[in-house]
Symmetry: C2
Subunit: 221 residues, 2 copies
């Protein structure tokens, strides 16, 4: 199997092309086999570079995926804000959040990997860039959600956004059983009740949270 | 450094002792460095056995931790049921769930590892034993919660139990920043708003869910 052989990129546009090629490969491999199964060596081989060359662009495997998570976060933000502009019923907020997450399996996979893996083995610079973006996107989403759902304050809307992201990450993993567990569910359908279907489970949890968060205000007053 | 050297266990009580020694080592190492950082080789070295000897008792590293999760699940179930017996106010249910989880860091760590790691690389037999226990414990917790909180049906109480376990798993990881992220939070305290404190975040989410789940009944009727 022949792979394109790269020479060292010297011009800025070539460096940018190479960065994009690395991100494309990491994205494609993660969609094929799940983020957790992709190694830096696998990305390097896919893009036709030596590992030592890939780390000139991204210091570690985790930094590549933190960059893809940032990109996917912007994409999710824009999709939610876009759909909420056309929304008139407050209840649609939950549907928009749940459906836009269900439409983005790579984003959900990355969210599930974030605290345990992607934030480890990264530089302070990469961590800072990621957290700045996360704070800004959560704030933007909170504003858009509070505007579309007058029953929620800005703070509650930001809280709902964070909970949506955490739940999407863990439900993504929980809704995709391992081979052994999938075989078990086939043999014992009554145990399959433990496997949460992603979209309905997330939708119901977010609907409950959106209804429940405002009821907590008086207690803390 | 000398380690106890074991000869092959032949009598049932010796086999049981050896199983317990392996579980003890895996538990202690996970509490020290986090479940994700413990290897089968590390457990074997700690207990003074060869890896090939450990796998006579547990087929894989993941089966050891699935066994510890089962044990921790029983312990959580008993603690919740015990505390709920002395409870008179429905709102206490959420406090009991959140506090008993916060008191059990190893359980929360294991819950966060479950779908992505512990259910992979296990035998069908180990997966079945674990899922049977999970179904039974969730049912028992659901009953105890619904009895203490008359505003929740049995099904809603089981749902709350599952959501508590998923949230505990992801909040445990999210509330413990990596070294790079911890350094960043120290440099930029405003970014630390992204780090959820475990107990208050879990308590508030569960309180919102307990208040919100019953409001969804009419919509689906």
């Amino acid at each position: 199997m022949t792979r394109p052989t790269f020479v060292r990129a010297r011009r800025p546009e070539h460096k940018q092309q190479r960065r994009e090629a690395i991100l494309d490969a990491a994205r494609r491999l993660a969609l094929e086999s799940g983020v957790r199964n992709v190694t830096l060596g696998g990305v390097a081989a896919d893009v036709g570079l030596a590992k030592s060359n890939v780390v000139r662009y991204f210091g570690t495997r985790e930094e590549i995926y933190l960059e893809l998570l940032t990109e996917a976060g912007h994409d999710w933000h824009d999709a939610v804000v876009g759909r909420l502009r056309q929304t008139t019923r407050p209840g649609d907020v939950v549907t928009v959040l749940a459906e836009t997450l269900a439409d983005r399996p790579l984003f959900c996979d990355l969210l599930g990997q974030l605290s345990q893996h992607l934030e480890h083995n990264v530089s302070l610079t990469a961590a800072r860039a990621f957290k700045e973006t996360a704070l800004q996107l959560a704030g933007g989403l909170g504003q858009a959600i509070a505007q579309a759902h007058p029953g929620l304050t800005d703070d509650e809307a930001v809280e709902l956004t964070h909970l949506a992201a955490w739940l999407a990450g863990c439900l993504y993993a929980a809704s995709r059983p391992s081979p052994a567990v999938a075989e078990l569910y086939q043999q014992e359908p009554r145990l399959a009740a433990l496997c949460p279907p992603f979209l309905p489970t997330l939708h119901r949890a977010l609907a409950a949270l959106a209804a429940g968060l405002p009821t907590l205000r008086d207690r803390s007053a």
